[in-house]
Amino acid sequence: MNAPAKLTPDDFATDQEVRWCPGCGDYAILKAVHKTLPELGATHENTVFVSGIGCAARFPYYINTYGFHTIHGRAAAIATGVKLANPELNVWVVGGDGDSLSIGGNHLFHLLRRNVDVQYLMFNNEIYGLTKGQFSPTSRVGTKSPSTPQGSVDRPANGLRFALGAGARFVGRAIDIQQANLGALLKRAHGHKGASFVEILQNCIVYNDDVFAHITDKKVAADAQILVEDGKPLLFGKDKSKGLRLNVKTLALEMVTLGEGGVGLDDILVHDEKNRVLGGLLADLEAPFPVALGVIYCDPAESYEAAVWGQMAQAKAKNPKPDINKLLRAGNVWTVE
């Protein structure tokens, strides 16, 4: 038999017309996924994309693998069923911020705490796009929208903090248009056995354009982002001249500049993926601090479906030839003649 031909990004595109608004950040994410799948050695048949409802949730229609576009908020629960039924499948879940943290917050929480081996991609655009622009659970206070003409008053949810709180063992963040970083993060998420939570900051050009400009704009990017790497000091800024230091009195991070006030490289925190406390501090960072990107936390543990199938294997080993007739006849039986 011939070795299967190596798949290309185009092999993972479908014949369906992509229906996002021109300029939507979803296109960039789709491109990164198309490009990453062949690099992962993914196959059409063993990959499944499950989604809920929303702009992001249209994703599966555009990927040439198995795909299931389900109902609002429930993709995590459906994906749990898929993975439990067949742990061999490589399962990805795609949802927006409303799908994931509002209507589906409960299911996402339990998917993460159970540690079901799927990649959960949350496209965060801080708005409801498909329903025409209402504020979302990640919208900042004061967001003006059709349902909040005076500005929203709800305090926003932090997806990474939520995931860490739920007990997620893999938490990361990327920006839609940063293809290389996004691709690298997707690969790490895929390689992680257990639930991987990836937040992707995604620009909704129609209803919430430039909501992340203060982070992504070229002029400010260097100071507004910090790409964390395991084992490397938490440096950012042009020439990596700034860093994050732990203030042991307040147990908070502070921004310092190398060489200023006697600050040396030794003072800068070194990223440790397995450190959940540090993961929490990084997840919390927002302006004027740089926003943390990359693998914020990764500390694998046994995945849910593996544990369940392990119990099933034990039961099967104990009773290798289960017989339903025997089951029905166990206990008190009697014969009527």
């Binding site: 198995y66 576009h69 629960a77 749990t80 069923g81 339903i324 009527v336």
Partner: protein
């Protein structure tokens, strides 16, 4: 049959009776359910037919001695075929004043009350809401009363075996059971074995004390026999079909039926469920069957349970979700997804009294509308109903067959009464069932996910992992010819019609409706579904013996309805629908067949009584006669 020599000697003086209804009633903590199920086992082994009705409160441990903490277990057993747990009891065992208060109205006039006088004191009268001692105010005048200080007699035998006062008192249900065993000539041994098995290893003194109490109650019966008033009874074996029997509870039989169905389909199962009364035993039963490849998933909520089951079906297992009314209400959107994407799914609904929380431990048949109609948009799905504990096995298999053959969710209706009731069951042999193996699509040639079998209209089931068949499906309307998203008006019309016709077509694949008792045509037919089978059947047979022209039809298939049902109903002068709701099947049958169906409806949370059905038949046929 009876192991003890004394029992055999007593046989001579025993009164022969055909059938008896005994009700054990006590506090939630008195172990009445255990007493009842032990009595059921012994009675089954004795060769009687039987039906049981566990009637317990919603609270796990209500305040001791109160009426809302009363837990009861009723059993009807006899040498003839037993179809219900009995309208009124012949014997009431009341472990305290509250139990007497709650259950007395259920005792027939002249029936026997056995009272534990040890718990008949001022404090308990107050808690039960009695102003005066019920033994002195004449309220028991129409009954035989046997007053025994069961508490003291139990303490006398159990305490010396090393139990505390409190522990020793807990054995009084076994003392009582021993007495009732003596009354009906039952063998003690199965219960002794059970007690040994349950406590023998962990707490031998508890086993010994319970066994001593059981024997003491039995011995007490033998001793008081002298008085003559309380002679024991003997009940012959019922003449039932030959074969191997066991006692089975509805929820257990239903779980096993799902397993059997999945095996006949050649699939492994995933049950996803969220704990809810009275459905949870289905989850418990299946959770212990992993060796059979059964996976169970206790989800975070009802919606997740339905969704995980759908995900499993999508990935090629048999997805099942089980709940009760309020939980089913939560699942409806997900069920709509399974209808739209045409995936197999079995939804078990163990109905309970509602709306909202309603009466969680009481029974009702009020989710017929929910099952047949209760979803957004035109979303038809098959609905099957279970009539008895044993029938749950057969109907569950049928639900799996229809779900997998037609690629559709199926609603399987049981109820709280069936779930908890037990009956002797002729144990089936799985080899007698015709397999209905599922064929997954594997051929990429000409494939799209909504390719249909021209006969069943079922779509192809292609599961992830199959090379060459990668495809996308979802909740957005799918193109008839490709499965891709389609917003075309004609396509939506066509898909809606196709989904409806697929379900209606199942009527050609299910048996024609039979008449249970009687014949097509005649003055009246009583139509029922679900757990009212027993009372309707007995009532109709009684009334026919009394010369009334009445038949009984009982539906398993609620949707689609059997193809001959309309003609069958029209062949009777009167159609009476007996159901435990305010008329849901009646509405459905009127709408489908334009028959002037009348209703006998009951929603008290208690099972329908034979006498209620008889009265309804009598009054209607008498009125019809008068009008002639």
């Amino acid at each position: 049959m009876v192991g003890s020599v004394a029992g055999t000697a007593a046989q001579r003086g025993r009164k022969k009776v055909e059938s008896v209804v005994v009700r054990f009633a006590g506090d939630s903590g008195d172990g009445m359910q255990i007493t009842g199920s032990q009595f059921s086992s012994s009675t089954a082994l004795h060769g009687n037919d039987l039906a049981t009705f566990p009637d317990f409160p919603a609270e796990i441990r209500a305040p001791i001695g109160t009426t809302f903490g009363v837990s009861a277990f009723q059993i009807n057993f006899g040498s003839r075929a037993i179809k219900t747990s009995g309208d009124k009891s012949d014997v009431l065992v009341a472990m305290n004043a509250a139990a007497l208060k709650v259950s007395l109205s259920n005792l027939r006039e002249g029936g026997l009350v056995i009272l534990d006088t040890g718990s008949f004191n001022e404090r308990n009268f107050v808690k039960a809401g009695y102003k005066v001692d019920p033994r002195t105010d004449g309220s028991l005048a129409h009954y035989q009363v046997m007053e025994i200080d069961i508490s003291k007699m139990t303490l006398d035998v159990a305490k010396p075996l090393g139990l505390s006062q409190k522990e020793a008192l807990r054995c009084k249900n076994m003392w009582t059971l021993g007495l009732v065993y003596w009354m009906y000539d039952r063998d003690l041994q199965p219960t002794i074995d059970w007690l040994q098995g349950k406590f023998g290893a962990k707490a031998p003194e508890v086993a010994a004390a319970n066994i001593a109490a059981l024997k003491a109650g039995h011995a007490f019966g033998e001793t008081v026999e002298i008085s003559g008033d309380y002679a024991g009874y003997s009940i012959g074996r019922a003449s039932i079909e030959k074969g191997l029997y066991r006692l089975v509870q509805g929820s257990e039989a239903l779980a096993w039926g799902l397993l059997a169905g999945s095996q006949l389909a050649g699939l492994e199962m995933l049950l996803a469920s969220y704990p809810i009364t009275p459905s949870s035993p289905v989850l418990h039963s299946l959770s212990d069957l992993k060796a059979f490849g059964v996976l169970t998933f206790q989800a975070e909520d009802e919606i997740a349970a339905a969704c995980a089951a759908i995900g499993a079906s999508y990935a090629g297992r048999l997805g099942v979700t089980a709940s009760s009314g309020p939980g089913i209400a939560l699942k409806t959107e997900a069920i709509g997804l399974a209808i739209g994407t045409e995936l197999p799914l079995v939804v078990v609904n163990t109905q309970r009294a509602g709306p909202s929380t309603g009466l969680p431990t009481k029974t009702e048949q009020s989710d017929l509308y929910l099952s047949v109609y209760g979803r957004n948009a035109d979303a038809p799905m098959p609905v099957l109903s279970v009539r008895s504990p044993g029938d749950a096995f057969e109907t569950a298999i049928e639900a799996v067959r229809i779900a997998t053959k037609y690629m559709t969710p199926v609603m399987l209706l049981s109820d709280g009464y069936i779930a908890n009731a037990a009956e002797p069951w002729l144990v089936p042999d799985i080899a007698d069932y015709k397999p209905f193996p599922v064929k997954f699509r594997t051929d990429p040639e000409g494939f799209h996910p909504f390719l249909r079998d021209p006969k069943t209209l079922a779509r192809a089931w292609a599961v992830p992992g199959t090379p060459g068949l990668a495809h996308r499906i979802g909740g957005i309307e799918r193109d008839y010819n490709s499965g891709n998203i389609s917003y075309e008006p004609e396509n939506h019309q066509r898909m809606t019609d196709t989904r409806a016709n697929k379900i209606l077509g199942i009527a050609n694949d299910i048996p024609e409706q039979q008449v249970e008792i009687g014949a097509p045509g005649g003055k009246m037919v009583v139509v029922g579904w679900g757990s009212t089978y027993g009372p309707i059947n007995r009532a109709v047979s009684n009334m026919r013996e009394a010369g009334y022209d009445v038949s009984h039809i009982h539906l398993r298939y609620i949707w689609p309805l059997p193809r001959n049902l309309g003609d069958l109903l029209r062949s009777y002068d009167q159609v009476l629908i007996a159901e435990m709701n305010t008329g849901q099947l009646r509405t459905l049958l009127r709408a489908e067949y334009l028959v002037p169906a009348d209703g006998l409806n009951k929603v008290s949370g208690q099972p329908m009584m034979i006498s209620e059905v008889e009265d309804a038949i009598r009054s209607r046929l008498a009125t019809a006669k008068a009008a002639e």
